[in-house]
Amino acid sequence: MRIVKIRTRVNGKDIQSEVEPRELLVHFLRENLGLTGVHIGCDTSNCGACTVLVDGKAVKSCTMLAVQVDGREVTTIEGISKNDELHPLQKAFLEKHGLQCGYCTSGMILTSYWLLKNNKNPTEEEIRKNLSGNLCRCTGYQSIIESVKYGAQLMMKEKEKEEQQIEVR
């Protein structure tokens, strides 16, 4: 089997690696880099358990090849918290019980992360629509929707605080 060299940036770290051309991104992240927070649920890009961010955009890593991230930046669930401080969305999912078995959780958080980047204060309808590429079999989605709403509030508050700090300075 031919081996291809790729250079990518994963969770802020530059990575050089050798992969088979057929290797899926999800397997590269899980097996080669040990980032097991990304999961495989359906193999057909329906369930979103494998969601990661490539150049800031939420993608299904089970239907993307590792070679496709050559020269690009990947963020996984392991990469969204800063210095052990949970990201507001991670806090929100915990506080609002946005998970039961935990298998879909990293994908849910990353899709929500991407949604909130583009829409700071989404309506319930917008959240439901945007999360429809991520399946949850445990919660009935209600607590996940609450978590995203709450996460959005926390993020807005954080932003306000940052802006105030800048003014004070």
């Binding site: 057929r22 097996e31 980032l35 097991t36 649920g41 329906n46 915990l94 949850c136």
Partner: protein, 682 residues
Amino acid sequence: MPTINWNDRELEYDSSRFVKGTGHFVDDIKIQGMLFMTVLRSPYARARIISLKGGISSKDLGAKIASVGEGASEGEASSVEPIFASGFVNYVGQPVAAVFAEDRYKSEDLLDSVEVDYEPLKPVVTIDEALSSPPIHKGMKSNILSEAVKGQDFSDPSSPIVLEDTLENNRISTNPIEPRGLVASFEGGVLNVWASTQAVHSVKNGLAETLGLSKDKVRVMQADTGGAFGSKGGIYPEYAIASFASMKYGKPVKWIETRREHLTSTNPGRGVRGKMKIFSEKNGKITGMKGEIMVDAGAYGSGSGGFSVPFIESMMTGAYAIEKAFVTGKALLTNKVPQGPYRGAGRPEASFFIERMLDLLADEMKMDPADVRLLNMSDKPFNSPLGMKIDAARPFFETAVRELEYRREAKLAKGVGLSFFVLVPGTYTGESARMIVKDGKIGVWLGGNSHGQGHETFIRKLINEELDVSKELVTVYRGDTSVTKDGEGAWGSRSAILIGAAIVAICKKLRTEVEKEFGSYSSESLLSRDHDEYVFDEKPFSLTSFGANLATVEIGRFGNVRVKKCNAYYDVGRALNREMVLGQIHGGMAQGIGQTLHEGLFYSEDGQLITSSISDAGVPLAEDLPNFGVKIAENRSSLPHGAKGLGEAPTIGVPTALIRAVEKASGKRLRKTPVMPEDLIE
């Protein structure tokens, strides 16, 4: 197992890890030298194997699968599933051979090295074909796997109203988002297994029996388990194959299911048809019920097909005081994957049959469905002629109708449905728990294993109440058969009841021990000494509870149903944790909507699975579902901690309320789930 480098802290139930992506699911296990297993599966629903070369197959492992897990029942010898197909294949997806390599890509490549020649045979696909065709298994007289009768037969009374109908719940895949999987490692004469499971002891017992090992030479440990809903309660052929291979090759073996394999080869639920006949007085009072049920058991008796028949039959008068009832039933063999339990496991089917008849009676009488139901309920506890003990139903239902604001809703909207049910939890044979007090901390292990329900939350609460030990000092660990001697599993709405009771029993024992030694109880005294207590409460008791649902729908031009409201009023006993209770109910309601409007496994005439992706199988999306309205009644049970069953309530109550709402909105009598848009347009 020394080769797995998860430390003690990583073996506990801790949902905070999942938001960080640091859970420990079975596919996350990496061991030096581990082989990855891929299974070669039958492409035919029924065929003779002419020749087979390559891989591990029935010539290496000729065993049949053991009967363990929820609802497992011994079938006739000729209907028990072999680990590997032998001579014949009997469903699409049946394991034929297995191959092994150092990673999953190479392992899949190796599938090409196995050569199989088949002679396809005409499969038996439907219940009707099973009744009219010669037996699919040699050595059997017919395709009847099992038969059961409940109640006393009676001659049809000359009732003024006699209604008959045939009703059906199609098969559904359980579809937890994490598929099945395990890692087996045979070391020092002990088979160590890590599994995604609801029941470590069922897996242990099943592997020991299947592979002829003594039970103390098999240790099964639970990895974080990404949902199960009934399908991860027992063992499957792949578990025995991976274990066998780890013994044969002297290396750890990992097997992780693909979604397609899940849909073809993991036991699905439902797949039951009921023919109902009710006899009623002129005023709408039902005096008798006759039923005949057919369970599509699939190709082998290894699932729960045999168990389903008498269990469904026993609940077929629902929560109603019907004096005469008689039900006959058969589980039938077809060339499809064996049927198994799916959240509710017989309860939703029984309720669907009787609730659909109550609605039919209401229409016949031109009465409100709530009033027909009230008329047929008792003010007092009632022992049904089918053997079910139920509490006084009417007071609860009257409150439910008010709490759900049903009468107002029925005036405001056209598509409104109401349902009522009694939940019978699966408490047989009790459950185990062990508590170890050491170094000022408490460790807890359970026989039945949480897979998302958050057992750790209520256990910490109960220990805090009983022993005044703060929650931070209590750690609840995932299942491990080397720590608990025995156990059943987490299924059948039983955990809060049975694990709660076991934990309270241990706490009382510990309290007594401390009082004996110190004269009086204090948590400081408890934690100052080492203790080790194990209980297995073998007294099976049943605690039924009531629930009601309301659903409101609108139907679009193309038959697409929009669920506007989906509300519940359930008696959950004492809610040990309100958030967890709501979470269970919301999740179950989503599955109830799924069964009614979206989900189903469908097979072609030649037994090929048509719905072979998770999206085809119809798992509901966030945008398919409404915000749920849930109210709970907390009528404490007779147990010290007051809990009742809960988990399956919504999968029983939602389909019956929802299909009625769709029936009212469409004006068409509806007899089966799922209801498809094409059923609703001209």
